[in-house]
């Protein structure tokens, strides 16, 4: 098995499972459309909570999609075949995370402006929103791989995974949402982006190693 074959296969499987991939997006859309109904349709008020609501929505939607990462491969034995290939496990993890981001994080980023519109996000917020999602969603996928790797063998790991990785998600949420707010206020959000960028660089190095170790533990029976 080679990495390019794995990449092709995973993209093909994602394409065949389109319905499953729409779930996180639908969730994202629902969160954004229910807030005006439940809280207040006043554009000024919505504009204030929009950065936070969109980012919380994106974070929870990603959390929902993490089961796609390793679960089905674990159940049908493909994961064993991957781990038994001479490829380094951390590269396999990196390929799977890439695919996950392409089918989960990227679509979330692309429809985010629509949600901004629905929540009357002020004009200055769109650029930092897109930029923070572009930098932040890969972090969510990378960190999620650790949690997904650790819980893949558990029958009832449903609640455990969020507990494990939410603390790691918190810095992303804080900096990303406040970057959008800063943009709305008309100030420079370079510092926030620099933080997100460095967090991304760090997780890119550490998360695949941790997730690979987690997978080895989960599959060693």
């Amino acid at each position: 098995m080679t990495l390019s074959a794995l990449l092709k296969r995973d993209l093909l499987i994602s394409f065949r499972n389109r319905g499953e991939l729409l779930n996180p997006l639908m969730f994202f859309l629902m969160v954004a459309s229910l807030f005006p109904l439940a809280v207040s349709p006043d554009p000024k008020f919505l504009g204030q909570i929009a950065p936070g609501v969109i980012w919380v929505g994106a974070l929870l939607a990603t959390l929902l999609s993490l089961d796609l990462l390793f679960k089905s491969d674990y159940e049908d034995g493909s994961l064993e075949q991957m781990l038994l290939s001479p490829q380094p496990t951390l590269l396999l993890v990196l390929v799977k995370v890439c695919v996950h981001w392409l089918v989960a994080g990227l679509p979330l980023t692309l429809i985010a402006p629509l949600l901004g519109l629905m929540l009357s996000l002020p004009d200055g917020g769109y650029a930092p929103l897109m930029l923070s999602l572009l930098l932040g969603t890969p972090i969510l996928s990378l960190l999620g791989a650790i949690g997904a790797g650790l819980t893949v063998g558990l029958k009832k790991g449903g609640m455990l995974m969020p507990l494990l990785i939410l603390p790691l998600y918190i810095p992303v949420l804080i900096f990303a949402a406040s970057a959008v707010q800063t943009g709305v206020d008309g100030n420079s959000y370079i510092g926030h982006m620099a933080f997100l960028g460095s967090y991304l660089a760090m997780t890119m190095v550490i998360a695949p190693v941790a997730a690979a170790a987690a997978l080895r533990i989960s599959t060693a029976r």
Binding site: A5, R9, S72, R221
Partner: protein, 217 residues
């Protein structure tokens, strides 16, 4: 089931070279000793059958042999070197089929083989599918096939993989009796051509083979 240490029949080597060897292996699950003091040396051209009653630890031993188990004591060596240290070389030479064979339901048999054996050409894959009688099913999603056919998708790998070590856990499951006879012949041919084949099966092999016995009775 008794917790006696298992009896092992010594598996001798035909020639000097030893590929896979176990040294003083001990394994217990849930406070039950599956085997202890298990020693064996396996060489190219060996066809080895691991035998034992249900729950004797056959699959566990196989997972230890492929390096996917941590819960054991003793050493497994690949060409004299610790298995985990020689992982790259060992896994480059290994074909393992477990209980779950790694066939994806929403891919066609051809697509499954494409990623499992990327070095195989389209023609080789079609020939292999012909051999396992799945020709004509190339474009059907594997989840629509019967259990036996799904297993045959994985078994098609036996025709195209060039890897010399085969470790197969219950390869005959869900295969009809004609298929079993053919499969047996493939295993014999593989061993004869210088490969090492390790299988677990409840089916009696009609051909000459060595055994590792597990489970004290």
């Amino acid at each position: 089931m008794s917790s006696n240490p298992s009896q092992t029949s010594a598996v001798s080597t035909d020639n000097g070279e030893v590929w896979l060897s176990g040294h003083d292996l001990f394994c217990e699950r849930d406070d039950r000793v599956l085997f202890s003091g298990l020693n064996f040396e396996l060489s190219p051209t060996n066809l080895v059958r691991i035998v034992g009653p249900n729950g004797a630890g056959k699959s566990t031993l196989m997972r230890i042999l492929v390096g996917m188990s941590a819960g054991y004591e003793g050493d497994v060596r690949w060409k004299g070197e610790d298995l985990h240290r020689a992982r790259y070389d060992f896994h480059s030479n290994l074909l393992y089929l477990g209980h779950q064979v790694g066939v994806k339901g929403n891919l066609t048999p051809e697509e499954n083989l494409n990623w499992l054996v990327p070095e195989a050409s389209r023609d080789e894959i079609f020939d292999a599918l012909e051999m396992v009688k799945l020709r004509g099913y190339e474009d059907v999603l594997t989840q629509g096939l019967s259990a036996g056919q799904q297993r045959r998708v994985a078994l098609a790998r036996l025709f195209i993989e060039k890897k010399p070590v085969w470790i197969l856990d219950e390869p005959f499951t869900a295969i009809d009796k004609y298929g079993v006879a053919e499969l047996e012949q493939i295993l014999v041919d593989k061993a004869a051509s210088g490969g090492l084949v390790i299988v677990t099966t409840h089916h009696e092999l009609a051909v000459d083979h060595k055994t590792i016995e597990l489970g004290g009775q």
